[in-house]
Protein backbone atom coordinates (compact mmCIF):
# COMPACT_ATOMS: atom_id res chain seq x y z
CA UNK A 1 0.00 0.00 0.00
CA UNK A 2 1.53 3.26 -1.15
CA UNK A 3 0.75 6.86 -1.86
CA UNK A 4 0.40 7.23 -5.62
CA UNK A 5 0.42 10.35 -7.78
CA UNK A 6 -0.56 9.52 -11.34
CA UNK A 7 0.29 12.31 -13.78
CA UNK A 8 -0.89 14.97 -11.33
CA UNK A 9 -0.81 18.65 -12.21
CA UNK A 10 -2.14 21.58 -10.31
CA UNK A 11 -2.34 25.12 -11.56
CA UNK A 12 -3.40 28.22 -9.62
CA UNK A 13 -4.94 30.10 -12.50
CA UNK A 14 -2.00 30.42 -14.84
CA UNK A 15 0.56 29.81 -12.11
CA UNK A 16 2.06 26.35 -11.95
CA UNK A 17 1.80 24.52 -8.63
CA UNK A 18 3.08 21.11 -9.67
CA UNK A 19 3.23 19.59 -13.12
CA UNK A 20 2.94 15.99 -14.33
CA UNK A 21 3.93 14.40 -11.06
CA UNK A 22 4.22 10.62 -11.11
CA UNK A 23 5.22 9.24 -7.73
CA UNK A 24 4.85 6.10 -5.70
CA UNK A 25 5.74 6.73 -2.09
CA UNK A 26 6.43 3.58 -0.07
CA UNK A 27 6.25 3.28 3.75
CA UNK A 28 9.07 4.85 5.75
CA UNK A 29 10.26 8.42 6.01
CA UNK A 30 10.13 10.35 2.75
CA UNK A 31 11.42 13.89 2.59
CA UNK A 32 10.19 16.50 0.16
CA UNK A 33 13.06 18.82 -0.57
CA UNK A 34 13.08 21.95 -2.67
CA UNK A 35 13.28 25.71 -2.48
CA UNK A 36 10.33 27.93 -1.58
CA UNK A 37 7.63 27.71 -4.22
CA UNK A 38 8.90 24.42 -5.58
CA UNK A 39 5.58 22.67 -4.88
CA UNK A 40 6.19 20.86 -1.58
CA UNK A 41 3.12 22.25 0.21
CA UNK A 42 1.06 21.85 -2.96
CA UNK A 43 1.90 18.14 -3.06
CA UNK A 44 0.97 17.79 0.61
CA UNK A 45 -2.27 19.72 0.21
CA UNK A 46 -3.13 17.60 -2.82
CA UNK A 47 -2.62 14.30 -1.02
CA UNK A 48 -4.78 15.46 1.88
CA UNK A 49 -7.58 16.83 -0.30
CA UNK A 50 -7.24 20.44 0.84
CA UNK A 51 -6.81 21.26 -2.83
CA UNK A 52 -7.72 19.24 -5.93
CA UNK A 53 -5.57 18.36 -8.89
CA UNK A 54 -6.23 20.17 -12.15
CA UNK A 55 -5.54 16.82 -13.79
CA UNK A 56 -4.40 13.36 -12.73
CA UNK A 57 -5.31 11.09 -9.86
CA UNK A 58 -4.05 10.63 -6.32
CA UNK A 59 -4.53 7.64 -4.04
CA UNK A 60 -3.44 7.47 -0.42
CA UNK A 61 -3.42 3.81 0.64
CA UNK A 62 -5.90 3.34 -2.19
CA UNK A 63 -8.24 6.06 -0.88
CA UNK A 64 -8.95 9.14 -3.02
CA UNK A 65 -8.35 12.38 -1.07
CA UNK A 66 -11.90 13.59 -1.75
CA UNK A 67 -13.23 11.02 0.72
CA UNK A 68 -12.16 12.66 3.99
CA UNK A 69 -14.37 10.37 6.05
CA UNK A 70 -12.09 7.45 5.07
CA UNK A 71 -8.82 9.24 4.42
CA UNK A 72 -8.45 10.92 7.79
CA UNK A 73 -9.11 7.77 9.75
CA UNK A 74 -5.66 6.80 8.43
CA UNK A 75 -3.98 10.15 7.82
CA UNK A 76 -2.72 13.01 9.94
CA UNK A 77 -1.50 16.31 8.50
CA UNK A 78 0.56 18.88 10.34
CA UNK A 79 0.32 21.99 8.18
CA UNK A 80 2.47 25.11 8.31
CA UNK A 81 -0.56 27.15 9.35
CA UNK A 82 -0.01 28.51 12.84
CA UNK A 83 -3.63 29.21 13.78
CA UNK A 84 -5.90 27.63 16.37
CA UNK A 85 -9.48 28.08 17.52
CA UNK A 86 -9.75 30.69 20.26
CA UNK A 87 -10.16 29.94 23.91
CA UNK A 88 -9.01 26.32 23.94
CA UNK A 89 -6.27 24.73 26.00
CA UNK A 90 -3.89 22.33 24.31
CA UNK A 91 -5.78 19.38 25.77
CA UNK A 92 -9.20 20.78 24.80
CA UNK A 93 -7.94 21.41 21.27
CA UNK A 94 -6.83 17.80 20.84
CA UNK A 95 -9.90 16.39 22.59
CA UNK A 96 -12.38 18.51 20.62
CA UNK A 97 -10.98 17.52 17.24
CA UNK A 98 -10.66 13.87 18.27
CA UNK A 99 -14.40 13.90 19.00
CA UNK A 100 -14.90 14.64 15.29
CA UNK A 101 -13.70 11.09 14.64
CA UNK A 102 -16.85 9.88 16.36
CA UNK A 103 -14.85 8.16 19.08
CA UNK A 104 -16.33 7.93 22.58
CA UNK A 105 -15.44 10.40 25.31
CA UNK A 106 -13.11 8.11 27.29
CA UNK A 107 -11.12 7.08 24.22
CA UNK A 108 -10.71 10.70 23.12
CA UNK A 109 -9.50 11.67 26.60
CA UNK A 110 -6.96 8.87 26.54
CA UNK A 111 -5.74 9.62 23.00
CA UNK A 112 -5.43 13.34 23.77
CA UNK A 113 -3.40 12.61 26.90
CA UNK A 114 -1.16 10.14 25.06
CA UNK A 115 -0.54 12.58 22.22
CA UNK A 116 0.40 15.33 24.66
CA UNK A 117 2.84 12.99 26.38
CA UNK A 118 4.28 11.88 23.05
CA UNK A 119 5.27 15.42 22.12
CA UNK A 120 6.42 16.35 25.63
CA UNK A 121 3.50 18.67 26.34
CA UNK A 122 1.79 16.82 29.19
CA UNK A 123 2.52 19.59 31.68
CA UNK A 124 1.37 22.39 29.38
CA UNK A 125 -1.82 20.66 28.25
CA UNK A 126 -4.06 22.69 30.53
CA UNK A 127 -2.75 26.05 29.39
CA UNK A 128 -4.43 28.06 26.64
CA UNK A 129 -2.89 27.47 23.20
CA UNK A 130 -2.86 31.27 22.78
CA UNK A 131 -0.29 31.44 25.58
CA UNK A 132 2.06 28.89 23.99
CA UNK A 133 5.45 29.72 22.50
CA UNK A 134 6.01 29.03 18.80
CA UNK A 135 7.79 25.77 19.60
CA UNK A 136 4.92 24.64 21.83
CA UNK A 137 2.38 25.47 19.13
CA UNK A 138 4.43 23.47 16.68
CA UNK A 139 4.39 20.52 19.08
CA UNK A 140 0.66 20.76 19.70
CA UNK A 141 0.14 20.71 15.92
CA UNK A 142 2.24 17.56 15.77
CA UNK A 143 0.18 16.09 18.60
CA UNK A 144 -2.98 16.91 16.65
CA UNK A 145 -1.60 15.12 13.58
CA UNK A 146 -0.61 11.96 15.48
CA UNK A 147 -3.34 11.82 18.14
CA UNK A 148 -5.50 9.29 16.27
CA UNK A 149 -2.45 7.11 15.48
CA UNK A 150 -2.57 7.44 11.69
CA UNK A 151 -0.75 5.21 9.21
CA UNK A 152 0.12 8.19 7.02
CA UNK A 153 1.66 11.29 8.50
CA UNK A 154 2.11 14.37 6.36
CA UNK A 155 4.29 16.97 8.05
CA UNK A 156 4.93 20.36 6.45
CA UNK A 157 8.11 21.89 7.90
CA UNK A 158 7.50 20.17 11.24
CA UNK A 159 10.81 21.23 12.77
CA UNK A 160 10.16 24.97 12.38
CA UNK A 161 10.39 26.81 15.66
CA UNK A 162 11.61 23.84 17.67
CA UNK A 163 14.65 24.20 19.92
CA UNK A 164 17.59 21.80 19.34
CA UNK A 165 16.46 19.36 22.04
CA UNK A 166 12.90 19.24 20.69
CA UNK A 167 14.25 18.86 17.15
CA UNK A 168 16.27 15.83 18.18
CA UNK A 169 13.29 14.29 19.97
CA UNK A 170 10.99 14.97 17.03
CA UNK A 171 13.45 13.48 14.53
CA UNK A 172 13.66 10.39 16.74
CA UNK A 173 9.84 10.20 16.64
CA UNK A 174 9.81 10.39 12.85
CA UNK A 175 12.35 7.59 12.62
CA UNK A 176 10.35 5.47 15.07
CA UNK A 177 7.15 5.97 13.06
CA UNK A 178 8.98 5.17 9.83
CA UNK A 179 10.40 2.00 11.31
CA UNK A 180 6.91 1.01 12.45
CA UNK A 181 5.95 0.88 8.76
CA UNK A 182 4.00 4.14 8.65
CA UNK A 183 4.27 6.58 5.77
CA UNK A 184 5.95 9.69 7.14
CA UNK A 185 6.18 12.46 4.56
CA UNK A 186 8.20 15.42 5.72
CA UNK A 187 9.06 18.67 4.02
CA UNK A 188 12.05 20.55 5.29
CA UNK A 189 14.52 23.22 4.28
CA UNK A 190 17.14 21.91 6.69
CA UNK A 191 19.03 19.49 4.51
CA UNK A 192 21.34 17.90 7.07
CA UNK A 193 18.29 17.07 9.19
CA UNK A 194 16.52 15.61 6.17
CA UNK A 195 19.59 13.41 5.71
CA UNK A 196 19.25 12.06 9.24
CA UNK A 197 15.55 11.33 8.89
CA UNK A 198 14.92 10.08 5.40
CA UNK A 199 14.63 6.66 3.89
CA UNK A 200 13.97 8.32 0.56
CA UNK A 201 13.83 11.83 -0.84
CA UNK A 202 11.79 13.63 -3.46
CA UNK A 203 13.53 16.67 -4.91
CA UNK A 204 11.26 19.35 -6.33
CA UNK A 205 12.01 22.46 -8.33
CA UNK A 206 9.58 24.87 -9.96
CA UNK A 207 6.73 22.37 -9.61
CA UNK A 208 8.57 19.45 -11.18
CA UNK A 209 9.93 16.33 -9.50
CA UNK A 210 13.65 16.53 -10.26
CA UNK A 211 14.62 13.24 -8.62
CA UNK A 212 13.20 10.66 -6.25
CA UNK A 213 14.31 7.55 -4.43
CA UNK A 214 16.97 6.55 -1.93
CA UNK A 215 19.68 9.16 -1.73
CA UNK A 216 22.48 6.84 -2.97
CA UNK A 217 20.39 5.94 -5.98
CA UNK A 218 19.60 9.58 -6.72
CA UNK A 219 23.30 10.49 -6.40
CA UNK A 220 24.38 7.73 -8.77
CA UNK A 221 22.02 9.10 -11.40
CA UNK A 222 23.77 12.47 -11.33
CA UNK A 223 26.43 11.35 -13.79
CA UNK A 224 27.61 14.79 -14.87
CA UNK A 225 29.05 15.52 -11.43
CA UNK A 226 32.23 13.59 -10.38
CA UNK A 227 31.71 11.48 -7.27
CA UNK A 228 33.51 12.62 -4.13
CA UNK A 229 35.25 10.01 -1.97
CA UNK A 230 37.09 10.67 1.26
CA UNK A 231 39.98 8.33 2.07
CA UNK A 232 41.51 8.49 5.54
CA UNK A 233 45.05 7.03 5.43
CA UNK A 234 48.58 7.55 6.74
CA UNK A 235 50.18 8.76 3.45
CA UNK A 236 47.64 10.80 1.51
CA UNK A 237 50.29 12.54 -0.66
CA UNK A 238 51.53 9.20 -1.96
CA UNK A 239 48.00 8.08 -2.71
CA UNK A 240 47.25 11.38 -4.45
CA UNK A 241 50.29 11.07 -6.73
CA UNK A 242 49.33 7.54 -7.77
CA UNK A 243 45.70 8.36 -8.36
CA UNK A 244 46.43 11.45 -10.39
CA UNK A 245 47.94 9.23 -13.06
CA UNK A 246 44.40 8.15 -13.87
CA UNK A 247 42.31 10.21 -16.25
CA UNK A 248 39.03 9.59 -14.37
CA UNK A 249 40.36 11.29 -11.23
CA UNK A 250 39.65 14.97 -11.67
CA UNK A 251 40.65 16.30 -8.26
CA UNK A 252 42.56 15.19 -5.19
CA UNK A 253 42.83 17.40 -2.11
CA UNK A 254 44.84 16.54 0.97
CA UNK A 255 43.21 17.37 4.30
CA UNK A 256 44.95 19.93 6.49
CA UNK A 257 45.67 17.23 9.11
CA UNK A 258 47.59 15.19 6.50
CA UNK A 259 45.46 12.16 7.29
CA UNK A 260 42.78 12.45 4.63
CA UNK A 261 42.42 12.74 0.90
CA UNK A 262 39.29 14.04 -0.81
CA UNK A 263 38.99 12.64 -4.31
CA UNK A 264 36.66 13.52 -7.16
CA UNK A 265 36.33 10.85 -9.82
CA UNK A 266 34.14 10.09 -12.81
CA UNK A 267 34.44 6.34 -12.21
CA UNK A 268 34.15 5.21 -8.62
CA UNK A 269 34.48 1.48 -9.42
CA UNK A 270 37.82 1.96 -11.15
CA UNK A 271 38.99 4.15 -8.30
CA UNK A 272 38.20 1.48 -5.71
CA UNK A 273 40.10 -1.14 -7.76
CA UNK A 274 43.06 1.17 -8.06
CA UNK A 275 42.96 1.93 -4.37
CA UNK A 276 43.20 -1.80 -3.62
CA UNK A 277 46.20 -2.06 -5.91
CA UNK A 278 47.98 0.91 -4.28
CA UNK A 279 47.41 -0.55 -0.84
CA UNK A 280 48.85 -3.89 -1.94
CA UNK A 281 51.86 -2.33 -3.63
CA UNK A 282 52.79 0.36 -1.11
CA UNK A 283 51.53 -0.97 2.20
CA UNK A 284 49.37 2.15 2.63
CA UNK A 285 47.36 2.00 5.88
CA UNK A 286 43.77 2.95 5.11
CA UNK A 287 41.55 3.91 8.03
CA UNK A 288 38.33 4.50 6.10
CA UNK A 289 36.90 5.03 2.64
CA UNK A 290 33.55 6.79 2.40
CA UNK A 291 31.50 8.65 -0.17
CA UNK A 292 31.57 12.37 0.59
CA UNK A 293 28.61 13.59 -1.44
CA UNK A 294 25.97 10.90 -1.08
CA UNK A 295 23.80 13.19 0.97
CA UNK A 296 20.75 15.32 0.37
CA UNK A 297 22.69 18.55 0.56
CA UNK A 298 25.10 17.56 -2.24
CA UNK A 299 22.39 16.13 -4.43
CA UNK A 300 20.32 19.26 -3.84
CA UNK A 301 23.23 21.46 -4.89
CA UNK A 302 23.91 19.35 -8.00
CA UNK A 303 20.31 19.16 -9.16
CA UNK A 304 18.74 22.35 -7.91
CA UNK A 305 21.62 24.66 -7.09
CA UNK A 306 21.98 27.56 -4.68
CA UNK A 307 19.39 29.76 -6.33
CA UNK A 308 16.68 27.14 -6.37
CA UNK A 309 16.79 26.79 -10.13
CA UNK A 310 17.23 23.38 -11.69
CA UNK A 311 20.88 22.77 -12.48
Amino acid sequence: MSIVFDNVSRFYGEVLGVNRVNLTIPPGVTSLVGPNGSGKSTLMNLMTGLIRPTQGEIRVLNIPPDEPERLFQLTGYCTQVDAFPRGLTGYQFLYSYLRLHGKPDAECRQLATEALERVGMAEAGNRLVAAYSKGMRQRIKLAHAIAHKPLVLVLDEPLNGLDPMARAETIALFREWGQEGRHVIVSSHILHEVDRISDQVILLSHGYVVAEGQIQGVRSEVTDQPIQILVRCNRPHLLASRLFEQDHVVEARVDSDNKGLLLRTRDADRLYLLLNRVVMETGLEVESVAPADEDVNSVYQYLIGHDGGTA
Binding site: L50, I51, V81, A83, P85, H101, H144
Partner: protein
Protein backbone atom coordinates in the same frame (compact mmCIF):
# COMPACT_ATOMS: atom_id res chain seq x y z
CA UNK B 1 -29.92 3.74 14.10
CA UNK B 2 -27.49 2.67 11.35
CA UNK B 3 -23.73 2.94 12.05
CA UNK B 4 -23.49 5.82 9.57
CA UNK B 5 -26.19 7.83 11.29
CA UNK B 6 -24.67 7.06 14.67
CA UNK B 7 -21.30 8.34 13.47
CA UNK B 8 -22.80 11.43 11.83
CA UNK B 9 -24.80 12.24 14.97
CA UNK B 10 -21.66 11.98 17.10
CA UNK B 11 -19.76 14.18 14.65
CA UNK B 12 -22.52 16.80 14.56
CA UNK B 13 -22.49 16.82 18.37
CA UNK B 14 -18.70 17.38 18.31
CA UNK B 15 -19.11 20.24 15.81
CA UNK B 16 -21.86 21.78 17.96
CA UNK B 17 -19.56 21.67 20.98
CA UNK B 18 -16.89 23.65 19.13
CA UNK B 19 -19.19 26.04 17.29
CA UNK B 20 -21.59 26.98 20.08
CA UNK B 21 -18.65 27.94 22.26
CA UNK B 22 -17.33 30.13 19.47
CA UNK B 23 -20.70 31.71 18.63
CA UNK B 24 -22.33 32.13 22.03
CA UNK B 25 -19.36 32.64 24.32
CA UNK B 26 -17.10 34.66 22.08
CA UNK B 27 -16.07 38.13 23.16
CA UNK B 28 -16.52 39.16 19.53
CA UNK B 29 -20.24 38.46 19.82
CA UNK B 30 -20.88 41.32 22.27
CA UNK B 31 -23.08 43.16 19.81
CA UNK B 32 -25.43 40.18 19.62
CA UNK B 33 -25.98 40.45 23.35
CA UNK B 34 -26.86 44.10 22.80
CA UNK B 35 -29.44 43.01 20.21
CA UNK B 36 -30.61 40.39 22.69
CA UNK B 37 -30.95 42.82 25.59
CA UNK B 38 -32.13 45.97 23.76
CA UNK B 39 -35.86 45.33 23.12
CA UNK B 40 -36.54 43.55 26.46
CA UNK B 41 -34.91 46.46 28.30
CA UNK B 42 -37.12 48.91 26.41
CA UNK B 43 -40.34 46.96 26.92
CA UNK B 44 -39.67 46.17 30.58
CA UNK B 45 -38.69 49.83 31.01
CA UNK B 46 -42.02 50.83 29.44
CA UNK B 47 -43.95 48.55 31.83
CA UNK B 48 -42.02 49.76 34.88
CA UNK B 49 -42.59 53.38 33.84
CA UNK B 50 -46.33 52.83 33.41
CA UNK B 51 -46.58 50.92 36.71
CA UNK B 52 -44.68 53.66 38.55
CA UNK B 53 -47.23 56.20 37.31
CA UNK B 54 -50.00 53.96 38.63
CA UNK B 55 -52.28 54.48 35.64
CA UNK B 56 -52.09 53.94 31.94
CA UNK B 57 -54.05 55.04 28.94
CA UNK B 58 -53.16 52.28 26.46
CA UNK B 59 -54.87 49.01 25.71
CA UNK B 60 -53.54 45.49 25.22
CA UNK B 61 -54.48 45.82 21.57
CA UNK B 62 -52.41 49.00 21.19
CA UNK B 63 -49.38 47.52 22.95
CA UNK B 64 -49.85 44.37 20.87
CA UNK B 65 -49.60 46.54 17.73
CA UNK B 66 -46.44 48.20 19.10
CA UNK B 67 -44.94 44.78 19.72
CA UNK B 68 -45.94 43.62 16.21
CA UNK B 69 -44.18 46.70 14.79
CA UNK B 70 -41.06 46.06 16.88
CA UNK B 71 -41.13 42.43 15.79
CA UNK B 72 -41.50 43.15 12.11
CA UNK B 73 -39.18 46.14 11.80
CA UNK B 74 -36.61 45.53 14.52
CA UNK B 75 -36.43 41.76 14.86
CA UNK B 76 -37.19 40.53 11.35
CA UNK B 77 -35.65 43.29 9.28
CA UNK B 78 -32.76 44.24 11.54
CA UNK B 79 -31.77 41.96 14.40
CA UNK B 80 -32.44 38.56 12.86
CA UNK B 81 -31.35 39.65 9.41
CA UNK B 82 -28.00 41.09 10.46
CA UNK B 83 -27.59 38.56 13.28
CA UNK B 84 -27.99 35.68 10.84
CA UNK B 85 -25.71 37.40 8.35
CA UNK B 86 -22.98 37.60 10.98
CA UNK B 87 -23.53 34.19 12.56
CA UNK B 88 -24.14 32.08 9.46
CA UNK B 89 -21.99 34.08 7.07
CA UNK B 90 -19.02 33.55 9.33
CA UNK B 91 -19.46 29.83 9.90
CA UNK B 92 -17.15 29.07 6.97
CA UNK B 93 -15.82 32.44 5.85
CA UNK B 94 -14.81 33.39 9.40
CA UNK B 95 -12.76 30.21 9.69
CA UNK B 96 -11.08 30.90 6.36
CA UNK B 97 -10.11 34.36 7.62
CA UNK B 98 -8.85 32.94 10.91
CA UNK B 99 -7.11 30.10 9.04
CA UNK B 100 -8.70 27.38 11.13
CA UNK B 101 -11.03 25.76 8.59
CA UNK B 102 -8.42 23.17 7.62
CA UNK B 103 -8.68 21.67 11.11
CA UNK B 104 -12.22 20.58 10.23
CA UNK B 105 -11.30 19.53 6.72
CA UNK B 106 -8.50 17.32 8.08
CA UNK B 107 -10.93 15.37 10.24
CA UNK B 108 -12.72 12.23 9.00
CA UNK B 109 -15.98 14.11 8.56
CA UNK B 110 -18.06 14.21 5.41
CA UNK B 111 -18.24 17.81 4.35
CA UNK B 112 -22.03 17.62 4.19
CA UNK B 113 -22.01 16.57 7.86
CA UNK B 114 -19.70 19.48 8.64
CA UNK B 115 -22.13 21.85 6.94
CA UNK B 116 -25.08 20.33 8.80
CA UNK B 117 -23.27 20.62 12.14
CA UNK B 118 -22.28 24.22 11.55
CA UNK B 119 -25.76 25.17 10.33
CA UNK B 120 -27.35 23.55 13.37
CA UNK B 121 -24.94 25.39 15.67
CA UNK B 122 -25.77 28.69 13.99
CA UNK B 123 -29.47 27.92 14.23
CA UNK B 124 -29.32 27.10 17.94
CA UNK B 125 -27.30 30.24 18.67
CA UNK B 126 -29.62 32.49 16.63
CA UNK B 127 -32.81 30.99 18.09
CA UNK B 128 -31.51 31.21 21.66
CA UNK B 129 -30.43 34.83 21.23
CA UNK B 130 -33.26 36.27 19.14
CA UNK B 131 -36.02 33.92 20.23
CA UNK B 132 -35.15 34.54 23.88
CA UNK B 133 -35.02 38.28 23.30
CA UNK B 134 -38.35 38.39 21.43
CA UNK B 135 -40.09 36.30 24.11
CA UNK B 136 -38.76 38.53 26.90
CA UNK B 137 -39.76 41.67 25.00
CA UNK B 138 -43.26 40.18 24.53
CA UNK B 139 -43.61 39.63 28.28
CA UNK B 140 -42.09 43.03 29.01
CA UNK B 141 -44.50 45.08 26.90
CA UNK B 142 -47.63 43.59 28.49
CA UNK B 143 -46.35 43.20 32.04
CA UNK B 144 -47.90 46.37 33.37
CA UNK B 145 -51.41 45.04 32.59
CA UNK B 146 -51.01 42.62 35.53
CA UNK B 147 -54.09 40.40 35.69
CA UNK B 148 -55.15 41.69 32.26
CA UNK B 149 -51.93 40.30 30.78
CA UNK B 150 -52.49 36.95 32.49
CA UNK B 151 -55.99 36.79 31.06
CA UNK B 152 -54.67 37.78 27.61
CA UNK B 153 -51.96 35.13 27.84
CA UNK B 154 -53.87 32.18 29.28
CA UNK B 155 -57.49 32.84 28.38
CA UNK B 156 -57.10 35.10 25.33
CA UNK B 157 -54.99 34.93 22.17
CA UNK B 158 -51.72 35.91 23.96
CA UNK B 159 -50.13 32.49 24.11
CA UNK B 160 -51.15 31.78 20.52
CA UNK B 161 -49.58 35.08 19.42
CA UNK B 162 -46.38 34.22 21.29
CA UNK B 163 -46.37 30.80 19.59
CA UNK B 164 -46.74 32.37 16.12
CA UNK B 165 -44.07 34.98 16.80
CA UNK B 166 -41.74 32.18 17.97
CA UNK B 167 -42.50 30.15 14.87
CA UNK B 168 -41.83 33.15 12.61
CA UNK B 169 -38.60 33.73 14.53
CA UNK B 170 -37.48 30.14 14.04
CA UNK B 171 -38.44 30.16 10.35
CA UNK B 172 -36.60 33.46 9.85
CA UNK B 173 -33.46 31.94 11.37
CA UNK B 174 -33.88 28.84 9.19
CA UNK B 175 -34.42 30.85 5.99
CA UNK B 176 -31.91 33.65 6.45
CA UNK B 177 -29.48 31.17 8.03
CA UNK B 178 -29.52 28.95 4.94
CA UNK B 179 -29.11 31.94 2.60
CA UNK B 180 -26.23 33.48 4.54
CA UNK B 181 -24.49 30.15 5.16
CA UNK B 182 -24.52 29.58 1.38
CA UNK B 183 -23.29 33.15 0.85
CA UNK B 184 -20.39 32.50 3.24
CA UNK B 185 -19.45 29.39 1.30
CA UNK B 186 -19.82 30.83 -2.20
CA UNK B 187 -18.60 34.42 -1.82
CA UNK B 188 -15.33 35.76 -0.50
CA UNK B 189 -17.27 38.55 1.14
CA UNK B 190 -20.74 37.45 2.28
CA UNK B 191 -21.50 41.03 3.34
CA UNK B 192 -21.96 41.97 -0.32
CA UNK B 193 -24.46 39.15 -0.77
CA UNK B 194 -26.07 40.27 2.49
CA UNK B 195 -26.46 43.81 1.18
CA UNK B 196 -28.13 42.52 -2.00
CA UNK B 197 -30.53 40.35 0.00
CA UNK B 198 -31.24 43.25 2.35
CA UNK B 199 -32.18 45.58 -0.50
CA UNK B 200 -34.39 42.88 -2.03
CA UNK B 201 -36.12 42.16 1.27
CA UNK B 202 -36.58 45.88 1.98
CA UNK B 203 -38.27 46.67 -1.33
CA UNK B 204 -40.37 43.53 -1.09
CA UNK B 205 -43.56 45.44 -0.31
CA UNK B 206 -43.15 47.64 -3.38
CA UNK B 207 -42.52 45.10 -6.14
CA UNK B 208 -45.19 43.20 -8.08
CA UNK B 209 -46.92 40.48 -6.11
CA UNK B 210 -45.39 37.68 -8.12
CA UNK B 211 -41.87 38.89 -7.28
CA UNK B 212 -42.75 39.29 -3.60
CA UNK B 213 -42.98 35.51 -3.40
CA UNK B 214 -39.21 35.20 -4.00
CA UNK B 215 -38.31 36.57 -0.61
CA UNK B 216 -38.18 35.29 2.94
CA UNK B 217 -39.91 38.29 4.49
CA UNK B 218 -43.06 37.80 2.38
CA UNK B 219 -43.76 34.39 3.93
CA UNK B 220 -42.79 35.54 7.40
CA UNK B 221 -45.14 38.55 7.25
CA UNK B 222 -47.93 36.22 6.19
CA UNK B 223 -47.43 34.17 9.35
CA UNK B 224 -47.26 37.06 11.82
CA UNK B 225 -50.34 37.03 14.11
CA UNK B 226 -50.82 40.81 13.97
CA UNK B 227 -50.69 42.65 10.66
CA UNK B 228 -48.83 45.96 10.70
CA UNK B 229 -50.44 48.41 8.27
CA UNK B 230 -48.12 50.57 6.21
CA UNK B 231 -48.43 54.28 6.94
CA UNK B 232 -47.02 57.46 5.40
CA UNK B 233 -46.25 58.35 1.80
CA UNK B 234 -44.68 54.99 1.02
CA UNK B 235 -48.01 53.32 1.71
CA UNK B 236 -49.27 54.91 -1.52
CA UNK B 237 -46.88 52.91 -3.70
CA UNK B 238 -46.97 49.71 -1.64
CA UNK B 239 -48.27 46.57 -3.30
CA UNK B 240 -50.22 44.55 -0.77
CA UNK B 241 -49.93 40.92 -1.73
CA UNK B 242 -52.39 38.21 -0.83
CA UNK B 243 -51.06 36.58 2.38
CA UNK B 244 -49.84 33.04 1.89
CA UNK B 245 -51.69 30.48 4.03
CA UNK B 246 -49.61 28.89 6.79
CA UNK B 247 -49.91 25.41 5.31
CA UNK B 248 -48.09 26.72 2.22
CA UNK B 249 -45.78 29.32 3.77
CA UNK B 250 -44.18 26.98 6.34
CA UNK B 251 -43.31 24.02 4.11
CA UNK B 252 -42.49 26.43 1.26
CA UNK B 253 -39.90 28.23 3.35
CA UNK B 254 -38.50 24.95 4.66
CA UNK B 255 -38.18 23.50 1.16
CA UNK B 256 -36.48 26.63 -0.20
CA UNK B 257 -34.07 26.58 2.78
CA UNK B 258 -33.33 22.92 2.17
CA UNK B 259 -32.59 23.56 -1.50
CA UNK B 260 -30.23 26.41 -0.58
CA UNK B 261 -28.50 24.15 1.94
CA UNK B 262 -28.11 21.37 -0.62
CA UNK B 263 -26.50 23.86 -2.97
CA UNK B 264 -24.18 25.00 -0.17
CA UNK B 265 -23.32 21.36 0.62
CA UNK B 266 -22.33 20.77 -3.02
CA UNK B 267 -20.12 23.86 -2.87
CA UNK B 268 -18.53 22.79 0.43
CA UNK B 269 -17.75 19.41 -1.10
CA UNK B 270 -15.73 21.25 -3.77
CA UNK B 271 -14.20 23.73 -1.34
CA UNK B 272 -10.43 24.13 -1.32
CA UNK B 273 -8.27 25.56 1.40
CA UNK B 274 -4.96 26.91 0.20
CA UNK B 275 -4.17 29.68 2.65
CA UNK B 276 -0.92 27.89 3.54
CA UNK B 277 0.39 28.64 0.04
Amino acid sequence: MSPHWKLWTAQVAAILRLELKKTLLSRRGWWMYLLFAGPPLLTFGHSLHVMSRGSWNCTIGEDGMIYATIFQFFYLRLAIFFGCLAVFGNLFRGEVLEKTLHLYLLAPVRREVLLAGKYLAGLIAAIVIFGGSAALAFIGIFLHFGQGFQDFLWRGPGLQHLGWYSLVMVLACIGYGAVFLAAGVVFRNPMFAGAVVMVWESINGYVPEILQKFSVIFYLKSLAPVEVPLRGPLALIAVVGEPVPAWLAIPGLLVVSLLVLLYAAAKVRQMEVSYSE
